[in-house]
Symmetry: C2
Subunit: 140 residues, 2 copies
DNA sequence: CTTGGTGCAAATGATTTGCAAGCCT
DNA sequence: AGGCTTGCAAATCATTTGCACCAAG
């Protein structure tokens, strides 16, 4: 999935937030990262593009972008929050307990079941955050 | 669900960790709490039983108990971790975005689907942590 | 212009840790 | 006895905030 430079600007404008070079940089860092970076990682990557971006700005940008549903926050039980571009298709995260690897599980079926169950309780789901701690099955 | 006093001791012994009055107190506080308390809440409740329990001990006890799978940690995106006795039946958590209320959704069907999907990817699920941000549906 | 955004450094909140003393096995 | 636990206070880690300046609409 690639983004055109002005595609990023549109995302910001559409969300009604100002377009700044720092936000562009943060988004660019996230777009290129497929490893669910922490705020610190994002800052490090953003700095390779613009040495002057501060930590505070990265945190503020991430918070703003999460609010705008452009970015998604993933909290693993311990350790800092991780971030990724908001997925078009919702998915769960599998964290391999042996090596810390994070992979994604997208299932239409799972999403449908979840909303059905929530609806039965009288709720609509705004967003979800699901982390499964897993271990590789033995090869037989 | 009630626990006998010595049932708690057995849980600790079975997990191979020492039985201390502080750990008993922490567990007792959790058993009586059905509101997913934070570490601070647990500390406050524990102190009503034993004024001398320290914050550090509560944190250490909770960490130990989570390791031993006696207690489960629930992390909501912002704000401190919350805790509950490890459920016999796994469930998801619904967080009402309007009032912060946390309720539980237990579904055999959901659990089954999740493990099936994980298995298809070659993984077994050790535990899961799923938080749905929800809003009450309008009454029609 | 005017409001929102930024950098810096200091502040905060949650959780962890070093150390000396105490309790469990 | 010997090691795991505790309490206390200080330390750490992630994240947030106050403030003066700058930039976007």
């Amino acid at each position: 999935m690639t983004y055109q430079p002005d595609e990023i600007d549109s995302m910001l404008r559409d969300a009604g937030i100002r377009v700044t070079s720092q936000r562009r940089t943060v988004i660019a860092a996230l777009v290129q990262s497929h490893d669910h970076p922490t705020a610190e990682d994002v800052h490090a990557r953003a700095k390779t593009v613009d040495r002057s971006v501060s930590f505070a700005t990265v945190y503020r940008a991430l918070a703003t972008l999460v609010d705008a549903a452009i970015v998604q926050r993933i909290s693993v039980d311990d350790g800092p929050s991780r971030f990724e571009m908001a997925p078009k298709t919702e998915h769960d995260h599998l964290v391999d307990v042996d090596n810390g690897e994070v992979l994604e599980l997208a299932s239409e079926e799972l999403a449908a079941l979840r909303s059905r169950l929530a609806a039965e309780l009288g709720y609509e789901i705004l967003s979800h955050h699901s982390v499964l701690r897993v271990r590789k099955l033995q090869k037989l």
